[in-house]
Point group: C2
Chain length 294, copies 2
Amino acid sequence: MSGGELARYLAARRRLVDGALRACLPPGRSRLGQAMRYSLLGGGKRLRPIVALAAAEAAGGTARAVLPFACALELIHTYSLVHDDLPAMDDDDLRRGRPTCHKVYGEGLAILVGDALLTEAFGLMATARGAPRALEAVAEVARAAGVAGMVGGQALDLAAEGTRATLATLRAIHARKTGALFRVAARTGGLVAGAAPAVLRRLTDYGEHLGLAFQIADDILDAAGGHEADGRTDQKLRKATYPAVLGATAARSHLVRARDRALAALGPLGPAAAPLEALAVHVVARTEPAAAAS
Amino acid sequence: MSGGELARYLAARRRLVDGALRACLPPGRSRLGQAMRYSLLGGGKRLRPIVALAAAEAAGGTARAVLPFACALELIHTYSLVHDDLPAMDDDDLRRGRPTCHKVYGEGLAILVGDALLTEAFGLMATARGAPRALEAVAEVARAAGVAGMVGGQALDLAAEGTRATLATLRAIHARKTGALFRVAARTGGLVAGAAPAVLRRLTDYGEHLGLAFQIADDILDAAGGHEADGRTDQKLRKATYPAVLGATAARSHLVRARDRALAALGPLGPAAAPLEALAVHVVARTEPAAAAS
C-alpha cells in the first residue's frame, strides 16, 4: 500500500467511523449533549477504531460488522482524554489545539461527559446482537479499559508523577494506559470477524507492538515539539516519556523494533493485512524529519 | 411476608450480593483497588441488586443467573455516588457516615474509582455468557445508566442547582437519576429469567413506581433528619426535594400512591412476588415515626 493509498484508506475509514460516532450522540440540544459532541467530534485520528476495522478485514470479516466495537473504542479513548485532562488529573487546558472540555463546560459537566461516553460505548457494543462473539468482545474491551488496563495505567501514572521513572515503570504504565486499547482493538476486529485462534494470536501480537510503537512515536513528536499545535508540549514534559528516559537515539531504536515486531506478526496474513501493515509503517514515518511538513 | 421474614430475606440477599461484589475487586494491594474496596464495601443497602434478584424470582428464574446483572447495578450505583460526591458536583464530605472517597484518596483517584467501577459493571455482565438475553440486558442497563437515564439526570440536577424547582423538574430529574436504575433492575431480573412480555411489563411498572417511592421516602427521611448519621442532611438541603416542593403532607400522599401503584403492578404474579411486595411496603414503612427506632 503506497502512502497515497493509505491516506485514502484512512480518510474513508475515518468518515465511516465519524458517521457512526455522530449517530451515538444524544438527540436534542442539552448542554450535556453539546459537551459530548464537542469532545467526540474534535478531530481525532480515529486510530483505534481503524485498527479494529482493518483487523476485521485482515481476518476475512467486514468492516460493517465490527463498526459498533470500533466506535466503542473511540468513545472510550475520548472519555479517557476528557477525564485525564481534568484539574485533579493532568490539568490540561488544551487538547488538539482547542480548550479542553472542562475549560468550556465546567468540571462537573466534563466528569459527566466522560461517564456518558464510557456508558454509551458499552451500550453501542450491546446493539451488535448478530455478532457471534459479541459478549466475549464486550468482556475483553471492559478488561482493556478497566483496572487491568487503561484505568489502572492512569492510576499508575498519577502515582508516578514527580518521581523519576525507569524504563520498567514507563513500560508498565503505557502497556496498560495506551497498549491495552490498541491490543483489544486488533483482537476485537478478529473476534467479531470469527478469526481462527492462530490468526487471533497474530492480531493480538500486532496490536501490542503497534500500541507500543504509537506511544513511543507520540513521545518523540512531543519532545520534538511536533505537537506544538496541540499546545500540549509544555504540560506533557512533566511526564516521563521514552526519549526522556532512554535518550533520543535509543527511543528511536525501540520504536523501529516495535514496528518490526508488529510487521512480523502479520507475516502470513497476506494482502488482506495490507492496511495494518501500512499503518505500522506510517506510525514510524510520522516521526521522521521529512514528515514534518506533511 | 412478615417484617421478620423480609429482614431475613434482605440479609441473605445482601450476603449473596456482597460476596459477588467482593469477587469483582481487583487482586493485589494497589491504591486504586483499596479505594474501590472502600467505596464499594462501605455498607450500602444493596436495594437495586435485591430488586433485580427478587424480580428474577418473581418471573420464575433463579437469583444465581441474574447475579452478575444485579451486582453490575450496584457497581453503577456506587460509581455514581463517588462521582456525585466530588467537589465539582455535590461536594459532599461524608457518605454513609464516613469520609467520601475523594476525601480519603484524593480527587484524581476518586474519578478513576468511578471510571473503574462503571467499567467493571459492564465487564461483569459480559461474563454472563449462558444468559439467553444477556446482550439485550446490557443494552438496557447502558441506556438506564447513560444520557437517557442516570447521567442525564445528574446533568439536569447540576443545571437546576440554585434555581427554584417545580414538581415537573423534580420528577424529570428523579425519573432519570434514581428511577431509571430501579426500573432497569426490575426489568433485568425479568429479562434474564426469560419473562413473558406481559410479566416484563408488570415488572417494569413495579420498578418505576418503586423507584419513585424510594426517592420520595429518601427525601422525607432527609428532611426529618433521619439521615443524620450519614452527615448528609445539611448538604442535601441545597437540593430540591419532594417535601420542599410539595410540603410534607402532599409528599407523603405521593409516596403512598407510588407504593400502591407498585403493589398493583405485581397483582397477578402470585406468591413468587412476595419479596417485591414486601420491599415496596418496607420503603414506606421506613418513613413512619414508629420506624425511627428500628
